[in-house]
């Protein structure tokens, strides 16, 4: 597609609910990143995929967070048993190479846990 697409744009979840956030990267982009951005802060790294391989998940805040990219294109970030502190904007980015060049970001999914 023309850019990185994320869905949904907005998600309100009740505490304890599971959510799934989707990212469609730019076609052909090898690298895919997930970031979490709190209000008034810069993005914080969550996880990185090179094709279908998850090479780094060191930024995932707990084992309630899980990400996959089974066919090396679309990725899903799943959060189980959501808690209020999970409220943030979740950003997905892709790039042609491993971070040496610019990253292209989606609009993000704003998750609010009530």
């Amino acid at each position: 597609g023309a850019g990185v697409s994320q869905s949904p744009r907005y998600k309100v979840a009740k505490r304890g609910q599971d959510v799934a956030l989707r990212c469609d990267p730019i076609s052909g982009h090898v690298s895919l990143f997930w970031y979490q951005q709190a209000l008034g802060q810069g993005p914080e790294f969550l996880t990185y995929f090179q094709n279908e391989a998850q090479l780094d998940k060191s930024g995932l805040p707990s084992d309630r967070f899980f990400a996959e990219r089974p066919e090396g294109s679309v990725s899903t970030l799943k959060i189980q048993r959501t808690q209020q502190e999970d409220s943030a904007v979740y950003l997905c980015a892709s790039s042609t190479r491993t971070g040496v060049t610019e990253a292209f970001f989606g609009q993000g999914t704003r998750l609010t846990v009530v």
Partner: protein, 110 residues
């Protein structure tokens, strides 16, 4: 954790004036990138400067990098209302992980 620190945290100037934002970081880097974020378009890459470069230009943007001081600056000349946004620096120190600052919120007054 965030590596970069932008300063100032917020900046308000008149349209037509120049805006300067600074970024400091802690570890050695491969490159440093500046991004703009507004509610309409999300995070957009502006310019990348490699660790062996000292200055780079792109249109109305000028970026400098001083690796000895671990700092960078972004200058926007002849500001426009459309430049109103938050500006972030991000450093690349490993193969893939961008480390971000907290951003500078820029407001251009008409």
């Amino acid at each position: 954790s965030q590596q970069g620190e932008e300063d100032p945290q917020a900046l308000s100037i008149q349209e037509g004036e120049n805006a300067t934002m600074n970024c400091s970081y802690k570890t050695s880097i491969n490159n440093l990138q500046w991004y703009r974020q507004n509610s309409g378009r999300g995070l957009v890459h502006l310019i990348l400067i490699r660790s062996n470069e000292r200055e780079k230009h792109s249109g109305r943007l000028r970026v400098t990098l001083d690796t000895s001081k671990k700092s960078s600056s972004l200058l926007i000349t002849a500001s426009r209302a459309a430049d109103t946004a938050s500006y972030f620096c991000a450093t690349l120190s490993s193969n893939y992980q961008l480390i971000w600052g907290a951003g500078t919120k820029l407001i251009i007054k008409p």
